[in-house]
Every structure is written in C-alpha cells, then in structure tokens.
Symmetry: C2
Subunit: 239 residues, 2 copies
C-alpha cells in the first residue's frame, strides 16, 4: 500500500472510532506532515481520498472538517458486489438464485452493447435476488467470453466479482449506469414477486476494464418499493 493510502486509512480509522467526530477540524496539512513524516503532496493525496469518499470537506483558509457520514451507507453508489450491499442490510436475509447460465452467440443488441465485431461468444446469466424470501431483483448479465473464462453455477451464486478480480485478474475501471422506469414484462412477472406493481426500476450498466475494454453489460430490474439509490455529488469544475 502506498504511503498516502495508509495515511488515508489511518485518518479514516480515527473517524470510524470517533477519535474524530462529525464537525471536528482535522489538523492542518502542515501539522499532518509532521505527524506522518510525509511531504505536503502526500498528505494532500490522502485528504483527497477522504474527500472523494465523502468523509471530509475542505475550504480555502479554513481547516478541513469531518463530515457526517451516517446519513448514508451509499450501497449502490459505486461499483461493488451484491454481497457488499447485502452486508449493509443486516436485518434482511439475502439469497441469490441463478436461473440461467449459458455461453451464447449474442444478438445484435448485445453485440452492440459489448462492442463485439466478430464471432465472439458471450456468457449470459440471470440471477434473482431474494430479500427476506421475496424475489425483488432480476439481474441479466452479458459477459465477453474472450475475457471471462469458465463460469460455473457456484461462482455465479457466490461472488462473481471476487472471481473476476481475484481469479481472472481483471482490473475493473469504471461503469456507466442508466436508471429509468419501465413497464413490467412477462419475464418479470414470472421470475419476480411483483405483487400488484406494474412498473420496475431498470438499471443498465456497462462495465469497463483498465484498458478501456467493455466486458460486461447488465440489466438489473428492481421492484419499485425495494429500490433505493443514494449519492453524494461533489461540486465539479465546470466543463
């Protein structure tokens, strides 16, 4: 781990353990230089991580302030596995059930989404997510089979992302998401416990690797009462 990352984790630990509380000021950057025996640039990199993860707020001329991070757990706000999200919802039981897995020849829509030109095959998999027994999420994934090898039921039902990152050694870089509302389909009705709901929240994700290759296209359909998206948007520079 780099020096600035370990400083980041150290300060984060002080926030989590309430050695630093919401509203408190951090030591100044020059004080932190002495405390961690680091250059100002290294301290500033650590503070930038704290900012990016929503833990502190800076403003010119003032000391940095610790923010209140309790309002949100932000489970869906970044790229992460369903298991991590599930951990945050401790009161509910979470089960993932695979309903389909095959290596298929993609249709035009999927070829287009995954930017496939030739005869590359694609893993298609469908999973139902049950919260406290109710089937409330239906995920359909398409993965480029030139990049991802040897998917099995066990991998898919446990943690796909662990397999992709730790076993396949893929470096996931970023994901584009589009959230809309859509009318339910016959498949939704068949696989989900929709009760009387007539719409679902539809989340399309396009996931990219380090080298800018797209490797995964996902359609995630959520029953509206179980959908929740949280986000902290920092002010960006104008474009």
């Amino acid at each position: 781990m780099s020096k600035y990352e370990s400083i980041f984790h150290d300060i984060l630990g002080k926030i989590d353990s309430h050695e630093l509380n919401a509203g408190d000021s951090l030591p100044s950057e020059r004080e932190l230089m002495g405390m961690y025996d680091a250059s100002r640039d290294t301290i500033r990199k650590a503070l930038n991580l704290l900012i990016q993860n929503g833990y502190i707020q800076k403003s010119k001329g003032r000391k940095s302030i610790v923010l209140d991070t309790k309002r949100f757990k932000m489970p869906f706000s970044n790229i992460e596995s369903f298991k991590e999200v599930a951990k945050a919802l401790e009161e509910t039981t979470v089960v993932t059930e695979m309903v389909y897995l095959d290596c298929i020849t993609p249709d035009e829509r999927v070829k287009n989404a995954l930017n496939i030109k030739g005869n590359t095959k694609v893993w298609m998999l469908q999973r139902v997510r049950r919260l406290s027994g109710e089937a409330v999420i239906l995920d359909t994934d398409f993965l480029n089979a030139d990049i991802v090898k040897g998917l099995t039921k066990e991998i898919v039902e446990n943690s796909l992302y662990e397999y992709l990152e730790d076993v396949c050694g893929l470096n996931i870089s970023y994901a584009d998401k589009i959230i809309t509302c859509q009318s339910i389909t016959g498949l939704d009705e068949k696989l989900m416990d929709l009760n009387s709901y007539e719409m679902v929240v539809n989340i399309e994700s396009y996931t990219y690797l380090d080298d800018n290759q797209i490797f995964q296209y996902t359609i995630s359909r959520h029953r509206p009462d179980k959908f929740r998206f949280e986000d902290r948007a920092r002010r960006m520079h104008s474009v």
Copy 2:
C-alpha cells in the same frame, strides 16, 4: 483560472473538436509538460480533471486514452440547475412554473432536514416543470432564510442557482441525494399531468455550502416515463 484548469479546457477543446477522438492516445505527461510549459504536477492535475469528468482513462505503463463521451450527456449526474439540464434536451420545450412561494415557520420534518434549532424561518417554494407542455416534474424546495434573502417570483422562475451563487455569493459544495419510488399523492395528481401513472420517482436532495452548513432541502417528484438518471462510477479506493 488556474494553469491546470486552462490546460484541462484546452485538451477538452481538442476532444470536442475531434482533434482528439475516442480511442486516441494523449501525448505522454512529459510531452505535455513541454507543450504547455508546465510541471508534471500541473499536467497531472489537468489530466485528473479530465478523468473526473469522464473524458480520459489512464493506466500504468500505457499512455492515457480518450474515452467515448457520446453515450452520455449525464444531465442529472451532478449538482446543476434545471436550465443546464434543459439545454441538453434541445428538442423539447421546457417551462418552469412557480406555484407557491412563501417564507414560513418550518415544521419538525423541515427543521430536522435543514438542521435548524431556533426560530429561523424557511423559504418554501414549489415549481412545476413542463416538458413540451406536460407537467412531469414537481419540485418542493426549502431554503434556510438566514442564508438566502429576498427571493422573488422572477428569480425562482429564471435560475435560482444563478441567484444563489452570483448574487448571494453562496459557495455550493456538495449535495446528498436519495432516489426512491413512491405512490402518488393528491398534490401530485393536482399539479402534475400523471395520466394513469400511480407512482412517481422521488428525489430528496440535501445541499451543503462550503462551510458545511446545509442550506437547502428539496423533494423532486418525476413522472416515471420522464425519469432518467445517468452516472459514471469510477473505481474508488477501498475503504
């Protein structure tokens, strides 16, 4: 404008004008140092802005790559005024109609949301957004009246954020958002053209200033067929 910002804008211009296209490599950081007569740190700050805004992708050992930015316009992904969003939807006419404006004594819910302890008053305002004539969005805003002074119908119907930033000199820092789906209320039915829709997408926003004061609480209700949220989530360091 700082040096790194002007370098950012210069490179951005080359992407927009297709002097640099999606998939192209940028010059190396050391080459850019010469081109812009800048230090490596300054170049790297400019490149970080390009990354944060989704224009390029870096990876170690390789040159940086220009990304495809056409997939998204990301109108709702950051804090910005409705006018900016509207500009992106050129094909539709957009009208904002104020339906309520008053300086009120807040109830417990609003006091809690705005972190108000004493007798501070609050601006409450409601606006209906019409796309091509249809009332599809209903916004209800609460603004701390100790911070925001002198709201009028004209300000509200034009650009509230321009007034807050340029006239009041407020520095908006970040906003927390929670997106859920909810059943419609009588007020929704009265003020919006809901057709037969029975649910709306509900976006609660808490907007903070530079000094970590919360100054605005907003509830924005969208007819589901007109709702769309786009996001590019970069891989963050683990926490």
